[in-house]
């Protein structure tokens, strides 16, 4: 199978690595090859976190410029920071809830208005899905389940190589049992939200 390439972009603490691992293990359980790249250490602590996953025939997890099939964007500015991974073919899920870094409060950098980011995303990406994952996560019962909202969204993207049930099974093996109810609810809210957009 030609590799399906997923890029996740977010901020330290949002659960991007956990989400990637759930996707990766689900692919492995399905009998597909999968490789993934993550960064730890100094790279976390509230900084930018990205992971690349390739499902199918691939040796390297790193995705070439313009070559992502799907970008899962945990934060709007971080979606734009990862824009070079995207081209006409790329599907993009964008969480609209912002995380403003301290550099903005200190006045040493600025965060563009929501409309600027959304207009830029709309003008570039051919297949763009915007959702407020933070709001949906709170609706599910805990803002921390934001990553599962986005995972549910990914499951609804045309061409995504894993089925909803396969991802849910992997969630069960990777998340604490007592959080499953909320995480499952978050996953389904994300899934339904993206389904409605088709």
């Amino acid at each position: 199978m030609k590799a399906y390439k997923i890029h996740l972009a977010g901020v330290g603490g949002q659960g991007t690595i956990k989400t990637s691992t759930i996707i990766g293990e689900a692919a492995m359980k399905k009998g597909l090859n999968v490789v993934m790249s993550e960064l730890h250490g100094m790279a976390q602590r509230g900084g930018v976190v990205t992971t690349d996953i390739k499902i199918g025939d691939a040796y390297s997890p790193l995705i070439e410029k313009g070559d992502a099939d799907l970008i899962i964007g945990f934060e709007p500015a971080e979606v734009l920071r990862s824009i070079e991974k995207a081209s006409d073919k790329t599907f993009v899920i964008m969480n609209s809830a912002r995380i403003v870094p301290f550099t903005v409060s200190l006045g040493i950098s600025s965060y563009p208005d929501a409309s600027i980011i959304i207009n830029e995303a709309k003008s570039k990406f051919k297949h763009l899905y915007i959702l407020n994952a933070e709001k949906l996560a709170m609706e599910a019962g805990n803002v921390v389940s934001l990553n599962m909202v986005l995972l549910g969204g990914a499951a609804a993207i045309p061409g995504f190589p894993l089925k909803k049930e396969e991802l849910i099974q992997s969630m069960k093996e990777n998340l604490p049992p007592k959080t499953m109810e909320i995480n499952l609810k978050a996953f389904n809210l994300g899934y339904e939200k993206i389904c409605k957009e088709h």
Partner: protein, 620 residues
Amino acid sequence: MNVEKILLEEEGRKLFLLGNEAAVRGALESGVSFASTYPGTPSSEIGNVFSKLAKKAGVYFEFSTNEKVALEGSAAAAAAGLRSFVFMKHVGLNVAADSFMSTAYIGVNGGMIILTADDPSMYSSQNEQDNRIYARLAGVPLLEPSNPQEVKDLMKFGFELSEQVKLPVLMRTTTRVSHMRGIVKLGKIQFPVSKGFFKKEPNKYVPVPANARRMHKEMREKLEKVEEIANATEINKSYDFGDELGIITSGGAFNYVMDVVRENNIPAKVLKLTLTYPFPEVLVKDFISKVSKVLIIEEVEPVMEQEVLSIAGKYKIPVDIHGKLDSSLPRIYEYTPDIVREGIEKVVSHKTEKRRYFKTNVTLPVRPPILCPGCPHRATYFAVKKAVEKLNLKNVIFPTDIGCYTLGIQPPYEMADYLLSMGSSIGTGAGFSHATNQKVVSFIGDSTFFHAGLPGLVNAVHNKANLLVVIMDNRTTAMTGRQPSPSEPINGMGEEVPEISIENVVKGIGVKFVETVDPYNLKKAEDTFERALKEEGVSVVISKHPCALITDSEKRKRNFWVTFTINQEKCTKCMICINEWTCPAFYVEKDGTVKIDPLICDGCGVCTQVCPENAIEVRK
């Protein structure tokens, strides 16, 4: 995935493992008996997994005080006939280098693997040194895995090679291999031998000059044997996709080569080298004789490229050799598939399809890593800054060290002026105090103090330096993922151990002004720093409060979490909390209102002492 699966999952099953996790499984499948490390990204997870599994697996494991001690422990275990595994980040091998350089002279009985995790592009390091050069310097065989499966398999290969030739083996990973996740097919766990026996043979183990001269000769003879193995082994293998170009590659770069060559139908032969020192001369000579052009694709230094150039020169082989030295590929930073594709395009006639990708002109906010909400280092920096201001000290030099607190380089703290390596803040601090008339305040963490700060402090006292050393004791090795430090009453095996009192150690060295303070009490901390700054000679303040990640997890367990909010009626928008305290939970609304994000607030409450209007209150 439950970490225990790395030990318990059966032979033949598959796990989705990090390169670092695969290293542990590989060691366990090889019957490793002794493992030691000092944590450092990108190698840290190896130790974290051992720390969880060692007891159950019957393996001795320790977080050592530094890499040199870790390597010495493992060398002794190998001398006693056990299989030992020591692992560290690339710069850790510098700390261990003095002993490392003797290991190939002395040799081993049980197999010994030394893993160095290099960090091309410096995601969490001060340099991107290429430790493949160390293998050549020390005379140690070198393995370069490309993915987690290979990391695991090469552990077994490495132990067997080590025992066959009686040399330790160096395994070089990079961040992209250590932190790559992939499917790993498991082998059988082999039970470790619990104790070895050291047979005394001083002529074999003590490199006094007469012995060392003989040992060096023996080492070269052993390496000749390894070179024969490198020429013949299946782990050095070639792939044939055409004739226009020969590519020689290793480690993580191999992955990019395979994807780029196959996706773009590049007519190339690929030689993947895995046992790369001693360099397989016969194998490479044959490979470059078959092609007219060869491109060497490796991270970071042109190590193999120079080997290939010398082979081509020695045998007068008419082949064009490309790589870093002719600028076909970049000389610095890690590679990516894009860089590899562009490099290949420079030397072949075959052009790949032009890549289309988007760009944006929108200016994005800078998002550097930052001290966590509730981090005690923030309070320490704040209090020291206030004390310095109060005494009206100018041009104070702040030598810093390696840990989360290096983030003190950022505004508004800007209290990190000079850094060389682990433990350097005290040595350089003493140096600055002798070389200038400026006041010096050195910052160092508890784990780093024990790692390499101690000799610096002894030196500072012995040579009458004039500086304040602030030991930021957050009760853990925080940056690398909270491994225990010697000042904690627990070790890497999870055993209760005596807490080593930093205060007693410092007093024992003879420092007169030694005080311990909780930085969460800003007023008291500021007062302590002020008095310490007035002292002549070496003074030490231990700023002691647990890492916020520790207190947060305790609060989570107890399900007790308060957060703070700003009483807008009291707030005068003086912005001290924003501009001087700068906790990531604080933000300013468009209309200038200052707010605290309850989802980020850690509830430490130290900000209540910062606010001159007492406007910060517990959120009801």
